[in-house]
Structure formats: structure tokens, C-alpha cells
């Protein structure tokens, strides 16, 4: 029953899912690392990215425009959310931050459900990536291969922002010690807003890029959010490389387990998370101290 092409195909699926999870988790983890806020509405951001792209596609029939509009819309949403609500929660306990982002996530999902109904919507892949590619030993959907490439580029861009720009340096310093950054005369709150925007955009971008692979439903972000948590726990909170490593690990675990029995995918994912928690409580690439 388990053939080589089947296994390789699942490994590719895992890579595509893993890359996607890596991107979404990076957004979640840089927001948490910098602002200290765990955004439970992050899954909703992913979902809204898909829907914003879907609407754009309906009007323009252009996939590129859909990706751009979807990402920008979610970034804008993130910035507004930070300005209007999240900033009042920086000095409140973690529980309140969790509660308010959880509530916002529900509002977003229900709003989308109201506007688009619960029926699934479809965004076709761009013409360039339609069809199936012959890899020599097996056939594989072209767009799924393209997803790996597109997400890799996005991760590269995120890497450059984080590790090669002044903003990135401030963000990484903020992850270490935001009070210190503040006292160095840098307006931390402006940085917070930008980081929230970028983090949300990462999820939104992933949402629209993923849209042709699955069909869009308002609840699509819920499962992703849970998987993202596991990724972050495995990789280490606040660690960008950890999010990438964790994402790939989680993606492969889900895909390979699904080959045998989809029902056990989450069990295996959870087992991996437990193992990491027991062996390395701060995650594979996490730093001790930040909690």
C-alpha cells in the first residue's frame, strides 16, 4: 500500500504544508517575541488573507493582484487592530491579551461568515502553475510545487527584513529586551505597530497563497492556528529560525502520518510536541528566559 511515489508525494505535501506553517508561525512568533502578545486572532488573519484575495480575484481575475491585495489588506487590518485595541493591553496580564485576541478572532470569523456564508469559495491557481508536473518518477500538482517556492521567497524576504535592516535589528533587540530598546530612545510603540502589521501580513500572505490548494471557508484558520501553536512550541517562542524548523517538522509529521491514518496526524504532532517539551522545554531553538 505504501509505494515510493506515494511516500515522496506525501513528503512534498509535507514540505508545502511545512513551508506554509513556517511562514504563518514566523508572523505569530515575531509578534509575540517583540510585543509579548500572543495573537489568538492569527488564524483569522490567515483566513481573511484568503478571502481578501478571493474578492480581488473576483474583480480582477489576476492572481498576482489577489496576492498583493490580500497581504496588504491583512497588514492594514493588523495595524488598525494594534492601534485601536492591542496597544491598550500591553500592560495588562497575559490572560487579558489572550481573551481579547480570542474574541477578535471570533468576530472576524463570524463577520466573514456573515458576508460570504459558510459555503466554500474557490480561488483557481494562476495559469502559469496550473496542471501537473512530471518529476520523472512521479506526477505532482504544479501549484503545490510553486507554493514551496513562493513561500520560500516570502521567508527570504522576512529574513532580510529581520536580519539585514535597521528595523529588523530593533525588532530582534526588542525580542531580547524591549524595555532597554525603549530607553535607548527608539519609539518602541511605533515599532510594535509595524511588527504587528508585518506579522499579520505573513499570515495573510500565506492565506491567499494557500487558497488555490484548499477551498476557502470561514473556519479555515482555526486548524491552522492550532498547528501554528505546535510549531511555535516545538521551535521555541520568539525564534524565527525555530518557526521555520518547527514548521517543516510539523508539516512532514502531518503529511506522513496522514498517509497511514489521517486520524493520528494530530496525535503524532502532539507526541512530538510533548517530546520537545520534555527534552527541551524552551523549544528546539528557543532561548531560556522569555516566557
Amino acid at each position: 500500500m505504501i509505494s515510493w511515489p506515494n511516500l515522496v508525494s506525501q513528503l512534498f505535501n509535507g514540505l508545502a504544508l511545512g513551508a506554509l506553517l513556517a511562514l504563518i508561525s514566523s508572523g505569530l512568533t515575531i509578534i509575540y517575541g517583540t510585543l509579548g502578545v500572543l495573537n489568538l486572532a492569527h488564524g483569522a488573519m490567515f483566513m481573511i488573507g484568503g478571502y481578501a484575495g478571493f474578492v480581488t480575484y473576483q474583480y480582477t481575475e489576476s492572481f498576482i493582484l489577489a496576492v498583493i491585495a490580500g497581504s496588504l489588506f491583512v497588514m492594514l487590518l493588523g495595524v488598525v487592530m494594534e492601534r485601536v485595541i492591542i496597544r491598550h493591553f500591553y500592560h495588562r496580564p497575559h490572560e487579558d491579551q489572550l481573551l481579547v485576541t480570542f474574541g477578535l478572532g471570533i468576530c472576524f470569523v463570524e463577520l466573514v461568515r456573515l458576508l460570504f456564508s459558510s459555503q466554500s469559495q474557490i480561488v483557481p491557481p494562476p495559469a502559469l502553475f496550473q496542471g501537473i508536473t512530471n518529476l520523472g518518477f512521479m506526477f505532482y500538482p504544479t501549484y503545490r510545487l510553486a507554493v514551496v517556492g513562493i513561500v520560500a521567497v516570502a521567508l527570504g524576504a522576512l529574513f532580510i527584513i529581520l536580519y539585514r535592516t535597521r528595523l529588523g535589528m530593533i525588532v530582534r533587540a526588542g525580542i531580547e529586551d524591549s524595555v532597554m530598546v525603549d530607553s535607548l530612545g527608539i519609539n518602541v510603540y511605533r515599532v510594535f505597530m509595524i511588527v504587528f502589521g508585518i506579522g499579520a501580513m505573513a499570515a495573510g500572505f500565506a492565506g491567499i497563497v494557500n487558497a488555490p490548494v484548499v477551498s476557502l471557508t470561514p473556519g479555515i484558520g482555526d486548524d491552522i492556528l492550532v498547528q501554528t501553536f505546535v510549531v511555535v512550541v516545538i521551535g521555541g517562542v520568539g525564534s524565527f529560525p525555530g518557526a521555520i524548523l518547527g514548521g517543516l517538522i510539523a508539516g512532514e509529521i502531518i503529511s506522513v502520518t496522514s498517509m497511514f491514518n489521517p486520524g493520528y496526524a494530530y496525535v503524532m504532532l502532539f507526541a512530538a510536541m510533548t517530546l520537545v517539551l520534555v527534552v527541551r522545554p524552551h523549544g528546539l531553538l528557543g532561548v531560556q528566559g522569555r516566557e
Partner: protein, 616 residues
Amino acid sequence: MLKQRPFLIETLTAIGLIVAPFVLPHLGFAPNTVNRILVWGLFGLGFDILFGFTGLLSFGQSAFYGTGGFVAAYLLTRAGFGNVLGALIIGTIAAAATGYLIGLIALRRTGIYFAMITVAIAEVFFFVEFNPLSDFTGGENGLPGVPTPSFNLGFTTLHFTNGWSLYQFIALCYFIGVVIALRIVRSPVGAILSAIRDNPLRATAVGHNIHGYKLTAFVIAAAYAGFAGGLLGVLQAFMPPDAFTFDTSGQLVMQTAIGGRGTLFGPLVGATVWLFLQDFLQSALGLGAAWKLVLGVVFVLLVCFLRGGIIGGLADLYRLVSGGRQQTDAELEQAAADDAEATPQLAPAPMQAKAVEHPAYSGPILKASGLTKRYGGLVANSDIDFSVNQGELRGIIGPNGAGKSTFFKMLTCEIPPTSGQIVFEGRDITGLKVTEVCQLGLTKSYQVNQLFTGLTVRQNLTIAALAELRGKFRLDLFRTLAGVKGLTEQVEHTLALVNLTRRADTPVSELAYGEKRRLEIGLALATSPRLLLLDEPLAGMSPRERVETVKLLKSIARGRTMIIIDHDMDSLFELVERVTVLQEGKVLVTGTPEEIKTNAAVQEAYLGGVHGEIAA
């Protein structure tokens, strides 16, 4: 106020539950809705102990709700088990056992990690229920045919079928649930849970095994969830698979926050609002599916503007209305306090340190050898040899950055040394936990106040005294605080010693700085240490407060050994017998205050080479 009427809340709950079937139908509540509200309320009782009282926000309660529900339903439908109550109890035990195992994993981390892990757990349970265990759980069909309870009393058989008849059974369960929850919350364990919510670091430092208590709260919440899950099956005559969904956990969290966390009744109020609005918005206003959006917005607004939820808001309102009268009370109290301060009062008797386990030991009470702490390349303490005799009063001074606080943290085992050994009363304590060391009789007061800020002065000291009287972990869930022998005496005595008796019932957040400093010392003192370390007890005090505090320190020094770090040398030299000077992580010199004052090396360390007597 409520303390004087011990069964007030229980009585009011009973009256409410008895009156409900006569009143609620007129308000448009169907009996089935009321029963649902009670099941949510019961589910929430345990959750509130976990979230509201202990501060652990779990998004995974559906796992235990579903476990308890399906175990009970399976027994009653497929396994042919006839006793409904028995099945419910077995379901509860199964949920509690599951909670224990999951708690071991989830509680390895706190804060947002805990929240994320619980979400993942809930999702795993959902998938397991649907796939690998679908033979037992019915998969997406659930388990139909759950019977309702009946009790054969010999002369007659009580049968609770549906509607208001079933209400009687569920209401009784809820009432028992409330009584148990109140007992737990008012027990020593309950007090410690609040302390963990407010300041886990200090709760650990005064000698409580907080991991054990957190696990206890987690298991309690799981047990309540399991029982409520079982009741859900009985109520619907069907165990629905969606009990396991993340939405269930989410709804519980939202209902608790809407009603008011930390109140026990918040979840009930929240569920009432939730289910009422759901009906009202859907049918009366014809909003259809938008009802959840409205509830989501209401929830976000409540979290933003009314942190205490509906019950918290009502309590605030009540305080606002009755505030004028309390103001005058406070003023009177202040006036009385001023009077009392003007007239000298009798000094309270000195407080005994806890009895020595092995009185034969007569060597130095504390001996550190070769103690070193490195942070990467930075050496905070290097090769410190340090010894203090029984009953000694030792001062430690040194310029900023000399490594004094790091040294204290190693002595109390808050941080492990890189190398070296610490021996307390002849016993090697290197590598022990701060909790164990405190239980042995060695603790410290902190440089920066570490108080339980949400509690009153008396409650703060109670937490510390409980650690001394009960040990680091004990499951006396049903004992009252008044039932802990010696607790009142210990707390009153400490209050008198640190001169906070008149402020006993003031919340910590309303104390003046000097009072907070005294409470900080009181927290350490209430654990009856034989060796007490004080990290800058005089920092930030006014000259008058300093004089008072030095007097206090002198009085508590009787019968115990103390080591004091401070920058106020006048006060310190007056207080201590010998002084150790630290510089750049090393011991510079140890001697009597006189010797230190005239020591050239010390002067150099402080004044950078200017020779001459320190203006002491």
C-alpha cells in the same frame, strides 16, 4: 463582611435554585435552557478555580468535558451500566485522571505556553474521539440513548425524566458543586492558589510547591468538566460529539469572562447571558447566524472595559454607591492610626524561629565555600568563602555591581551556583530548590518588593505562614483557614511585629511604600526562618521609617541569625556585629564595623583611592 455569615452564599444559592422554576418561565426561559445553563455553570465552577483563582487560562477544557461525558455515556448505553449517578462519577474520575496526566505535560510551562499547549491538547482529543476511538464514541454520530437518573428509595422510586423534573436533579448537582467549590476556595489550598495567580515567584520562595498546587487546580477543573460532560449526555439523552470541539472550550472561556472570573458564579451568569442572547438574537430579532458576531463584539468590549465581567462590574457599582460611607471609615481609621503612632505602644514579643531539627549541631549556621557564578563571560561572584555563626548579625556591603544580590540568590537557591558549595546547619543545600530551602528555615526578603498584590496584608502573611505550618504541599482541600492550628496567632504576631495590624485588611495595592517594605520583611518573617537574609531592607525609606525599621530588625534578630545587605552604612553599622565587604564579586574583607570603617582597602573600593576616614 461575608466572613461573619459563613453559609450566606450557600443559603442564597439554595434559595435561588429553589425559586428559579417558579420565576424563570415568566422571563421566557424554557426548562431545557435552564438545565443547560446549570450544566455550563457546573463546568465553569472548576474552570473558574483554574482560571479565575489560579490564573491559568486553559483553552482545552473540552478535552475533559468530552472525556467525562463519553465515559459516562458509554457505560450507560453500550456497556449496559444501569446506575446513572455511578456512571457520572466514574466519568468524573476518568476526566480527573486524564487531567492529571495532561497537567503533567501542560504545566511544564506557564503563561502563553500553557494556553497554546492546552489548545493543542483539546484538538488531539477531538481527533482521537472521531477516528481511533470512534467504535466507542460513535464517531460523528455520538452516543444516543443516554438514560435519565432514577433512585429507588424502597417505598417509592424517584424518577427525573425531563424538563423541570430533570432540573431538580441537575440543580442538586449544581448546589453540591457550589458547596464543594466554596470549601476549596476557602481552604488553605484555595488561599495558595490565589497567591500563585498573583505572584508565583514569591509563592515558591515562601515555601510552597506551586507545581503541585497548580496540578491540583488542573485536576479539580478536569473533574468538574467531566461531571458536567456526563450531565450533558443525561440532559440531551444523547452524547453529542461536538462536546469535544474547540468551540466548547472557547464558549466556556468567553462565558466565564463575560460573567466575571474569580467569582465562581461568573460562568453561570455568563452562560445565562449567552444562551438568552442566542435565543433572543436568533428568534426575536431574526439575526440568524449573526448572533455569534454580536456576542463576540460584546465579549471584546467587556474584556476591554469591564475586566471583572458582569459580576465584577456590579461589585464595582456597589462599592461606588456605598463608597462615601467607607471613605469616612478610612479617615477615622487614619486618625486613629495617627493617634496610636503618637503614643508609644508596647513592643510585641519577639517571634520564635522554627525549632531546629537537630539541636546537637553547633557549627556555623551557614558556610559557603568556593561559590562562583558566571553569566557567560561575566563573573558575578568568584570563589567566595563565607561563614556565619549561629545567632550572628552580619552585614554585607559593597559598591553597586559587587555581586551582593547574586550572592544572596545563590544562598537561597534561587539560582544555582556555577561552582562551589553551600552548607546550611551542616547540611549541603547546593542544588536544592528555593522552596525546600525555605522549608529548612532559610529565606530572604527581596530588594524589589515581591508581594501578592491582589490580596490584603493579612492574606499575604497568611500565605507565608501556611507554608511554615503546613509544609510545602498538602491537600487539605476541605479544611477552613481557621482550622489550621496556630495560623491566626502566627499572622497576628507577624502583623504586630511589622506594625501593620491596623492595615491588616487593606489591599496591598493601597499601601504606602514604607508599609510595603515592612510587609516584604513580614512575608519572610512569617515563615519563621532560623536564617533570614534581607536584601536592602532600608532602600527607599524616609529617615523616620529607617529608624523604625532598624528597631524592627533588632527586635526580630533575637533568637535567629540574620544577614543584611544595605547601602545605609550608618544604620547597618549600628545594627550588625560583623560586616563582609564584597567588591567585584569577591570578598574584600570581613571584620567588625569599627575595623571596616578604618580599613584602607574598603575606602579605596568606595571612594576610589581617596585616603581618609569614611564620614560615618
